[in-house]
Each structure stands twice: as structure tokens, then as C-alpha cells.
Amino acid sequence: MFLINCPFCGERDQSEFSSGGEAHIVRPKQPTELSDDEWAEYLFMRKNIKGIQFERWNHVHGCRKWFNIVRDTSNDKILSVYKMGEKPPVNYK
């Protein structure tokens, strides 16, 4: 349980949000050109990182906006929040 600083509404309880999983997985431009393996990679395969992970979250019970966060999954500490379309912070790997 933790607080998330929604880039639009400010700091709110995590129960107002829903998690959209790993961030920066780009939907293939031409799915029909992909092999079954490549399509499975996009659909199912995840880094599932223990440590610093880039993720998508949605303020579903608030402004309904999607945004990205950088979170340490080993202690749930949020290191950075940035909007969709913005460049991910470079100081985390």
C-alpha cells in the first residue's frame, strides 16, 4: 500500500489507481508481419523486474488519465512520475 502522485490530481491513495503493468511496450506497427514468437513476446513476455521498474498506471477513480511511474518493486518506493509521451527519466536504468 502506498501513495501515488498523480501528475494531474496530486498525491492520492494507491486504491484510486489501477496498474497497467510494464511501460514502454510498443504495440507493433504491423502485427500481421510478425511471427508467432514475436507476437507472443509482445503479448505475454515481461521483464517482471525486482528493483527499478518502469510502469503504466491509470488514475481510474480520479481523472482517468494514464501516466508512467518509476517504482522500486522491492520496496514499493516511487522514484519518479511522468506523463504519457514524455521521455522516461534517464537517471534510472
Binding site: 494531474f8 490530481c9 496530486g10 498525491e11 486504491s15 477513480h61 480520479g62 481523472c63 482517468r64 488519465k65
Partner: protein, 182 residues
């Protein structure tokens, strides 16, 4: 005229909490982000849309709540300005400057007033009301008893709560029940 069926919400007063079904209101959801959109809205409503999160702006006719960077809700008593929706729709939606949606029946407005209302709301919500209760004009979207709500701090210790119609009676029951424990 067709009869209106109101939700089964009656007036309750206990522990310095007053819960009422508010009188019938028009609610309009407005969305947009370009310059024409803001100009048109300002002209039609004579109001500047609040750009700061969790705030509202009001004049003698309308209240406008900030919902997200490109979304607001305007509400007002039904007997006023009945053609404002048509005007907004014609000048904005039809011209593709933004999107105007009538949500009058989507949302039920429950008015809650009294000294203990923030204690009541806090007992079923993860929202931190500390700033909200000291600032008349604050607005927010959050959860109360697991139900999505829009809250508007209309005047001191007087909150308009907007909830989806199908959840309204259930939330009202919870509010009445929980008033016993504040």
C-alpha cells in the same frame, strides 16, 4: 410532461449531518483542449474553466468542476438556462472543437451539510480531506464506500456529491448508516 422517478433518497438529519437529495440539476460534461474550445466555452458560459486541479469556478448561473486537464463538469438548477446544452453542443461538438455530453441523468446529486460531514466521508474514503475541507470551492473525484463520486465543496461544510444513478441509493444507505458512527 412525463413524470420523473427520483431515487429513493429522503432527508436525514443526525449527528450534525444533513443528507438530502438535491433538487433536479442539469449536468453537462465538456471536453476539449484547443483555443477555439476555450474561447467558445468562455463566451457561452461567461466563465473561465478552472485550469488548476481539484478546483471549481462559479458564477450566479453555473458551477464548473475540474475533472481532468481536458474535462470539466458544469451543473446548474434545471429551471435556469434550459437551452445552454443545445448552444454548447451546436458551437462546440458539431464543429469538432471538443465534446459536449449531457450527463444529467447519469449522475444524482446528493447534498451533505453539517459540521461532521468530512468525518463521515473520511470514514469510507481513501481521500485526504484536510486541504479540501478548509477550501470552499474545492472539487475532487474519489471513492466513497467503493463507489466513484465527484465532490464539490460548495460552501463551508456543504458538499454536493455526484454519484452514478444506479449506485445512488446504495451510497445513500451507506451515508445514513455511517452517520450513526461519527
Amino acid at each position: 410532461m412525463l413524470d420523473i422517478l427520483h431515487p429513493n433518497i429522503s432527508n436525514i438529519n443526525k449527528n450534525n449531518i444533513d443528507i438530502n437529495l438535491s433538487e433536479e440539476k442539469i449536468k453537462i460534461n465538456i471536453r476539449g483542449k484547443n483555443k477555439e474550445f476555450f474561447t467558445k466555452v468562455g463566451k457561452i458560459l461567461s466563465i473561465i474553466l478552472p485550469s488548476e486541479s481539484n478546483t471549481s469556478s462559479s458564477n450566479e448561473n453555473y458551477d464548473v468542476l475540474w475533472l481532468s486537464p481536458d474535462e470539466w463538469m458544469i451543473y446548474f438548477d434545471e429551471n435556469k438556462n434550459s437551452n445552454i446544452f443545445d448552444q454548447l453542443y451546436k458551437d462546440i461538438s458539431s464543429l469538432n472543437f471538443g465534446s459536449i455530453t449531457d450527463v444529467s441523468s447519469q449522475l444524482i446529486c446528493i447534498n451533505i451539510k453539517g459540521e461532521n460531514i468530512f468525518e463521515l466521508l473520511s470514514s469510507g474514503s481513501p481521500f485526504n480531506f484536510e486541504k479540501f475541507k478548509n477550501n470552499v470551492g474545492s472539487s475532487t473525484q474519489t471513492i466513497v464506500n467503493h463507489i466513484d463520486v465527484i465532490l464539490h465543496h460548495k460552501s463551508k461544510n456543504n458538499v454536493n456529491l455526484f454519484v452514478r444513478r444506479s449506485f445512488s441509493e446504495h451510497l445513500y444507505e451507506w451515508l445514513v448508516d455511517s452517520s450513526n458512527f461519527v
